[in-house]
């Protein structure tokens, strides 16, 4: 498929999961295609990176389910990175333009897992006592039907509801034409789970290879973590993570990310950036 064909499968109002983590391995070639389409009013579910601010600034997103949005900006002290704040996401949120569901990082994992396993919820201790329950009045608790640790009444736990996705978009290093794919960097993040939780899963890859070459290209069979059982379409998109990283193929492009962030206070510069970026 092409990125535009993937965007053509999306409809306004859909719930779309986006893989990667912060500024790491975001499917930006597919995000660009969304900007070129007329899709709007998306509900985005993500461990958020710059794609959140981009979709918000472009007016394509009305709802967001997230544990964080962070660009992983360079840390001048260590040469590593620090979380940092995304000015475009901040502007949208502070203007009241987004309806948000805030979750603990692990609650998002459980929500996707529940959808993938076709159960309505998964129980967890995570979230008890915190404001995620206050911020989301729809979030329920459940009483364990089994005795508690003292032999008495069962524990009360958070019932994290399934987060079923209409579509998932991820970007990994290498795949074949049928939709098997592998990550060759340090971390798969939750990309497999996003695909398994989705009715339709779309994978863009740095390079498409023949199936018989997949193990060799991935380096090891344990890297083949995405199977065509859970993918609808594959897109060959070299550089498809754009300025977010796709190690070992590419490091994060801090300069390009900074140029995008620098447009936050200037609507004209922001629109010009997105116009040019979506066509590149």
């Amino acid at each position: 498929m092409t990125p535009d064909e993937v965007a053509g499968r999306l409809r306004s109002g859909m719930t779309v999961g986006i893989g990667g983590w912060g500024s790491r391995r975001k499917p930006m070639a597919l995000i660009k295609a969304i900007l070129r389409s007329d899709v709007t009013d998306l509900h985005v579910v993500t461990y958020g990176g710059p794609e959140v601010g981009i979709l918000a600034a472009a007016g394509r997103m009305s709802r967001l389910t997230f544990p964080f949005v962070s660009p992983d900006v360079p840390n001048p002290m260590t040469g590593g990175s620090v979380p940092g704040l995304d000015p475009h996401f901040r502007a949208a949120r502070q203007a009241g333009l987004l309806t948000c569901t805030e979750l603990d990082e692990g609650m998002l994992l459980l929500g996707l897992q529940a959808a993938a396993w076709r159960v309505p919820f998964l129980p967890t201790r995570v979230g008890l006592g915190s404001d995620v329950l206050r911020l989301d009045p729809g979030l329920r608790t459940v009483r364990s039907p089994y005795p508690g640790p003292d032999g008495g009444e069962g524990e009360e736990l958070v019932a994290q509801p399934a987060i079923a996705l209409d579509a998932a978009l991820v970007h990994v290093n290498v795949g074949d034409e049928r939709g098997n794919a592998a990550f060759t960097g340090p971390d798969l993040y939750f990309d497999d789970l996003f695909l398994e939780a989705a009715a339709e899963g779309f994978v863009s890859v740095e390079r498409v290879v023949a199936t018989e070459d997949l193990v060799a290209e991935a380096g090891d069979v344990t890297r083949l973590r995405i199977s065509r059982l859970f993918t609808t379409g594959v897109v060959e998109a070299p550089g498809g993570s754009d300025f977010t990283d796709c190690v070992p193929d590419r490091d994060r492009d801090d300069e390009a990310q900074s140029r995008w962030f620098a447009t936050a206070k200037d609507p004209d510069a922001r629109a010009a950036f997105l116009e040019e970026w979506a066509r590149a």
């Binding site: 979380p83 502070q94 990082e105």
Partner: protein
């Protein structure tokens, strides 16, 4: 005071005092994942492992746990102990084999912490911050400590705007079963070390860094701190610790840029 250390505060740099205060948070943790997030926490955590807690496991900030003592290690030089991608981190967190030291944009007297947003309306924050991240799960499953690099009344507040990490009052409301793994062990700031070892788990001065007064720290805190009859001075680094910090863990001195010495 440990033998061989200086007896004058002026000889000691504040960042080194903070680093050993952080290290001491991990004392007794044994074979668990020490997960300090940030520059001074990472340096202090590495110091704990390089000296009195050799069994601690620590991350490279990405997907592996590494044996190196240096706080910042180039990828090629990392001595990998195990694969620990984000997916597996939750297995560690939810098993309780972890002590995390996080940052806090706001923290209150019971140790409730906020890194998500500021302002009264959660759906339209006055200031959007990171989000709740993993704080709810950390504080219900793991030992948690906080690091605050700039101690001030906007950080130490009467009530946090969004409870991300839960404090002792919230944990108590849940009852003993739900809260059985909740522990906010310490808060380390550039001014002192604080704990919750009071009858009602209110934040208490555990020690103040050399040169810091009770009045100064109380003025920089937006709620009333519990103050012991005798306020200890934070312990100074030993010569061995200074040697480790300066030659192995943080030879570039990044800690001095994060925590400047008092004027």
């Amino acid at each position: 005071m440990p033998e061989g250390t200086s007896d004058t505060a002026t000889d000691v740099r504040r960042a080194d005092v903070c680093a050993v205060a952080v290290a001491d948070c991990f004392r007794g943790d044994g074979e668990s994942l020490a997960n300090p997030i940030g520059v001074i926490p990472m340096i202090g955590g590495r110091l704990a492992r390089a000296s009195f807690e050799p069994d601690l496991m620590m991350t490279d900030g990405e997907a592996t746990l590494i044996a190196n003592h240096a706080a910042s290690v180039p990828a090629a030089e990392r001595v990998v102990e195990t694969f620990n991608p984000y997916r597996r981190m939750f297995d560690v967190v939810w098993s309780g084999r972890r002590h995390v030291m996080m940052g806090a944009t706001q923290v209150d007297r019971y140790g409730n912490q906020n890194i998500a947003a500021l302002g009264p309306d959660p759906q339209r924050p006055a200031v959007q911050l990171l989000g709740v991240r993993g704080a709810p799960g950390n504080t219900i499953n793991d030992t948690t400590s906080y690091w605050v690099g700039r101690h001030g009344p906007k950080v130490f507040v009467e009530a946090v705007d969004v409870v991300c990490g839960i404090g002792y009052d919230r944990a108590a409301e849940l009852g003993p079963e739900a809260a059985r793994w909740h522990e906010i062990r310490r808060v380390v700031s550039n001014l002192g070390v604080f704990d919750f070892e009071t009858d009602d788990h209110r934040m208490r001065i555990r020690s103040l860094h050399p040169g810091v007064t009770v009045a100064e720290v109380q003025e920089a805190t937006g709620f009333e701190l519990a103050v012991p009859d005798d306020v200890p001075t934070s312990r100074l680094p030993t010569p061995d610790e200074l040697e480790l910090l300066g030659t192995v863990i943080d030879p570039d001195g990044t800690r001095y840029r994060e925590v400047p010495d008092p004027a």
